[in-house]
Amino acid sequence: MSVMGKSVRRIEDVPLITGKGRFVDDVRAPGVLHGAFLRSSQAHAKIQRIDATAAKAMPGVHAVLLLDDILPVMTRRRMMGGNRSGKLPETLIPTALAEDEVCFAGQPIALVIADSRYLAEDAAERIEVDYEPLPAVSDCRRGIGESSPSVQTAIKSNLITSYDVGYGDVEAAFKNATHVFGDTFSQHRGGGHSIEGRGMLVEYSSGSFTVWASTQKPHDLYQMLVDLLELDENQLRVITPDVGGGFGPKLIVYPEDIALAAAAKLLKRSVKWTEDRREHFLGAIQERDQYWTMEIATDSEGLILGLRGKLLHDLGAYAYQDVNLPYNSATSVSGPYIVPAYAMTVEVGLTNKVPVSSVRGAGYPQPAFVMERLMDRIARELGLDRAEVRRRNIIPVDQMPYEKPLKARSGAAIVYDSGDYLACQAEILAVADWDGFPARQAAARKDGRYIGIGMANAVKGTGRGPFESGMVRISASGRISIYTGATAMGQGLATALAQICADQFGVEADDVTVVAGDTAMIPLGLGGFASRQLVTAGSSVLLASRATATKAKTLAGHILGVAAEDLEIVQGDVKIIAAKQLVVDKKKPQSISLGELSRILRGAPGYAFPEGLEPGLEATFHFRTDALAYANATHVVEVEVDPEIGEVKILRYIALQDSGRLINPVIVDGQVHGGIAHGISNALFEWMGYDENAQPVTTTFAEYLLPTAMEIPPFETLYKESPSPINPLGVKGAGEVGTIPVTAAIASAIEDALTPFGVRVLHAPINPEQLLEMIEEGSKKQRPS
């Protein structure tokens, strides 16, 4: 009985529900010292003087480290990695601790190492810093203006790069259009806010380091530490323990990580640092600040002829990695629709804010918001149903695979590999009774209730390459293990990979052990981001499992005296298939265990080794891909808006997702739920606030709204399975797809509910104050004065 496609119970769960999980702060290391960072209180300032005398004199304090203190154990001043393209100014790449200029509030300046975290934090408070405040840039739109102060004094213009993306004759498209509609849109930044923050333990032993890190990219951290701390590869091992959520921020190697590891090397001691929530607000990457000015051209029937505009992306104060998000945004804006001509200017600007990188969705939710809002605009202006406008413009299934005239960052063509977007939309609209909603709405209005329905479509490229590692190895006990550079952070990765492997050996998922993100067990890997792991690591594990099973059968065939094709693997034994057992000698063994085969393939000195077989009952694959598997979703939401207080209540939320073939449907459903909740949070709640001097104003969960079970509604979820033709499993990523259309769908529903007031939702998050203002504005216009 195959375990593929079954909602088997997760193999991760028992330790986690019994308190036996092991997260980074749970790992014990004898003699460990504790780190605490002194962070900049200023958004932008020159540091004139730092006096750590008092801090250093405190009992239990081992060191107070500044940049100059750790540089002697490092190979370079700046962290690498932020600048693979080589196009960005050098000073955008951060140093592990601040130089003499700080560029965002929260930037690490000094690292205190003490006997306990309590003492380290005490000492950090005693460090005296004299700042000479410099003007700070809070609003990216003003920051790229010529009269704006610089975000960094070394950089003259805050507009650090701009480029054009597009295809087709846009001028002609707009000239020949019947209608042209334009709007400006924006989304504000939020954080990742995994409930476990960042954290790292560096164990030092005789010149070698074992790093335990709550990371989405252990091999990246490994390579960066090997390089920056000038280590031999065998002097370092990075282990990823249980990770309490990722959502983007943990894919970065941070200045804090480098400073901590450098401290361990300098002091020859084990050190650890565990981020607190305030530090997550002040130091972990954030995302979504984008400003779009767009125009769309259509014919008289609402068919899109062209799309053009400008996108300004706020990068924050530094580039922690290559600037990929605005490119993702600009190349994905057309979503599931046919856009014959397209021209965008992309601008990337700096602010004195926390650096920006991917948060769940990674540059896709903003363009989905823009495109879906424009589709609603066309519908309203032309007096058409919103679903009908989409239907007319959607890429039909008979055009799949559909190549967009754009290139991905890898240079590969952007090709939507599969999917029936129209069928998805039709199915969910039927479930939602979209056509019956106007009657329900009219009835509610009679009762004085403002209800509305909204919809949005999304397409997301998943499974980013270039590869992921997957090794399958069978031990002498017969136990099957998987080793992968993919990284588990709550998605159920171990269970899904175990299912793929178990299927090849006739065992259950919990008969397979999965080790993810341990650099000593698997040398290469990329990690967890871009909804990539089932596609990439899953494919590698499938291929490695098949190869290992084939090897086992080949060897068993030699031993049992039958052809490999006459063997099957059942519950960990290689057996002669029933139909063939009649014709073989019954006195001879009919089966052999995987453990025995493993022992043979380990070799014995002086004894014969099976001919034609490589040692070890194992196989390693690195499934190579540059193409992406495109998942899609349609969401429909009903809301009620209270026009007296601007409150939005979600009455019904339905999502249909096509993530290709489902290996474990319940796990995928969990990913979709979490994705939608993140989207609702972005649409209505999460607002990382900064004042006009770029001082953060929301640095606790009391000030920053992360929704609870009271704000998040129950979800209805539907699935379509269009297998991806570009990987051997037929799978597509799931983790981020649920987030992408949410803000657009909710905005659509709010506008629909507030049609009598003519409210237009162009900015997110949508908060009650703004909504009330728009409602009041609308009432004034309505009333004859």
Binding site: E12, G245, F701, L706, A709
Partner: protein, 161 residues
């Protein structure tokens, strides 16, 4: 810094310890007793990950000092499983209903619900949502946690007719 001697029970077992006066209960459990199942998510009493029971009442162990538990009974997630290894009905329900993803908020959710279901054996979904509204989860969107709690209520009712 002053050390205080405290005596308490943790998961039914007697504990005697010398604790610094400012040591939080969460840090005491995690780093002095090595009961790392209790997690810290915000250190300001909002996220609920560190929820434990003190004399059967839920409490934020990040906002309590260890010294305050002198003479009291503390229960943590490590105390839910029976000594023979049988999972508590809430644990079993979370496992069977995909009530967790990364598992970091889970101990706090479980301890909150142990108290809640003790007082409300037949809750509605809305009741459960209100009960866990002091516990943040970033992974699940809460729905399967609610379903797990309702399933656990059913199991607990069957267990104690």
């Amino acid at each position: 810094m002053t050390l205080h001697n405290i005596k308490l029970t943790v998961n039914g077992l007697p504990v005697e310890a010398a604790v610094d006066d400012r040591l939080t209960l969460a840090d005491f459990l995690r780093h002095q007793l090595n009961l790392t199942g209790t997690h810290i998510g915000c250190e300001h009493g909002v996220c609920g990950a560190c929820t434990i029971l003190v004399d059967n009442v839920s409490a934020r162990s990040c906002l309590m000092l260890a010294v305050q538990t002198d003479g009291l009974a503390v229960r943590t997630v490590e105390g839910l499983q029976a000594t023979d290894g049988t999972l508590h009905p809430l644990q079993a329900a979370f496992r069977d209903n995909h009530g967790l993803q990364c598992g970091y908020c889970t101990p706090g959710m479980l301890m909150t619900l142990v108290e809640f279901l003790g007082e409300n054996p037949q809750p509605s979904a809305a009741d459960v949502r209100e009960a866990i509204s002091g516990n943040l989860c970033r992974c699940t969107g809460y729905q399967r946690i609610v379903e797990s709690a309702l399933d656990a209520a059913k199991r607990l009712n069957e267990q104690e007719p």
